[in-house]
């Protein structure tokens, strides 16, 4: 833990580190699918607390703040989010975009195979239904490894996003300056039968390492 630029305690996002260690231990690709257990704010690797967070609300509610390995802007996670992460041993430092695209396509294929077929890719790496974001992802590359993580907004408390996050310092074109509430949508609103648990169950079967390694980038 270290103190951020507003005396907010910022914790490392341990899930990332654990998965990376697991991949390093045997040199194999690792995939994790898990429910996020608490309400928390997760900063991107280069995120500024001042620019991205409503610090007063976070401090008032005692919300924990983490910093992940991957880039991008801050997100709010809660038990309504389903997280999918992957660590892939990849030689050198090249092909960042190719692997980022592979991971995004792999996830979209996975969603399509579970019947969530209206999802498409927009912005840099958002997963979108009818111009509204249902998942955001981040990517991290270090020598020898690529790390991908995506948070699916299955049934999140969207008001918390508005409460804890400022309008992001950069946004994809399709966002059109919309506030968080108008920009994101819960997957369960689009597909009422989907829950975090049902989707996790499907993903455990669908999101295979073989699928990830074979999908086009």
């Amino acid at each position: 833990m270290k103190l951020g630029d507003d005396e907010i305690a910022v914790f490392p996002y341990q899930y990332d580190a654990d998965l990376l260690e697991a991949a390093k231990s045997d040199g194999e690709t690792k995939v994790a699918v898990y429910n996020f257990p608490e309400i928390a704010v997760v900063l991107g690797r280069g995120s500024s607390i001042q620019k991205e967070l409503n610090v007063d609300s976070i401090l008032e509610d005692g919300v924990k703040v983490y910093r992940r390995m991957g880039g991008g802007c801050s997100v709010v996670l809660d038990p309504g989010n389903l997280i999918v992460s992957a660590v892939i041993p990849v030689e050198g430092l090249l092909d960042t975009k190719k692997w980022f695209n592979k991971c995004t396509n792999w996830l979209i294929d996975g969603l399509h195979s579970t019947g969530i077929d209206r999802v498409y890719h927009d912005g840099i790496s958002d997963l979108v239904i009818s111009d509204r974001k249902i998942a955001g992802s981040a990517f991290y590359r270090m020598k020898g490894y690529a790390y991908y993580t995506v948070a699916l907004l299955v049934s999140p408390e969207i008001d918390l996003i508005e409460k804890y996050l400022k309008h992001p310092p950069r946004e994809p074109e399709y966002r059109l300056q919309r506030n968080h509430r108008d920009f994101v949508v819960a997957l369960s609103e689009c597909y009422p039968d989907v829950s975090v648990n049902t989707l996790r169950g499907s993903f455990v079967k669908q999101l295979t390492v073989e699928g990830l390694l074979s999908v086009d980038g």
Partner: protein
Amino acid sequence: MNEFRLPDLGEGIHEGELLKWYVKVGDEIKEDEPLCDVETDKAAVTIPSPFTGKVIALNGNVGDTLHLDEVIAVVGADGDVAVAQAAPAKEAKVEVASAPATVAATVATPAIAAPAAGGNGTRAIAAPATRRLAREMDLDINVIKGSGPAGRVTADDVLRYNDSPASPAEIGTAVDSSAEAVGTGNIDFSNASIPFFEVAKLPDFEQFGPVEREPVRSIRRKVAILTTSSTIIVPHVAHMDECDVTDLDSLRQKQNELSRGSDAPKLTLMPFVVRAVSSMLKKYPMFNASLDPHRQEIIYKKYYNVGFAADTPRGLIVPVIKDSDRKSIRDIAAEILTLAGKGRDGTIDAAEMRNGTFSITNVGPIGGTGMVATINYPEVAILGMGRVQEKPVVRDGEIVIRKMLPLSLAFDHRVADGAQAAHFTTDLIALLSDPDRLLLDS
């Protein structure tokens, strides 16, 4: 000394924002140990050091944009001199282990050497912005003696060298002037030989109300550099007119109806304009040229690469249709769709945005009755398109409703004159107003 340049991180990734240094100047680093974190879009990358040794220099502060192939760090081999012994620095961008900078110390440091001093094959140490400045001034940075730590070349060194490349006696004057300007809070560009040109210090806006500050980075920075250079260097003139595109629009809509359901790309107005402009550039070569101010020559290009401005999530880009004079309107339409899509996705390659000879910018889909665009330097002209609107016009003595496209041709008056611009625009309008002729011409 070993220079480490920002490596290629992947297809189409040519720059990244510096997030963190893992080392500071004077530290020992081993090969493969983390050197820095760089973020490209949403991907963060930890870049390892390829060398073992003492860190001599780090180029850039957190938040700076680093560019592909630019020196980001210098790692010394055994026996290299530590930076702590170097002269004090004035340039804040460089992290050094030296004492705080003073203007006086900089003044005392000779900034300019005879060309031979740096011409021994060594590469100058300099921040990316300083290299860019030298490039823009067409100077070889490697022959400029740096006044910064470890001989680092600063922006001041470049400006001084440009101002007086062979006269050390004049250097003192230039630096004194600069020091005085720093003292008063203004940036004095008088040494750039532009009389009365002075950039005043900004007021403290916070005293008038809340403000938010955002660093100028990435594409925004590139646009800022390009447009500043263009508007300062190029005497812009704009010629404006309206084009009757009623028949062209009918043809376009009919073709789109006929090709519905096929793989043919949807036709917008842009591919027709690109094709028509390509023909005009052959007839009016002064608009397909560049001006070399140093040789005082106009370079007429015998190839035709028309760029089109595209708004993307990352900002304004100008993809280029290469050899647009040799492509069909449908091919141009398909290429525009492909390039614009790549621009939006962030997968466009830098090569696809280079070597344009003329640019077109279209604000029509958003709105606007006219615009004066900034020339995409070193090109010499740019065509602006406004919104097509139905307007009452007189044809054969009667008032009829026609679809009118506002056009403005901004051009470099050093290379072309108003009459040539008027002819270019009139002929372009004639071509676009007569689709049969345009198709024959294509």
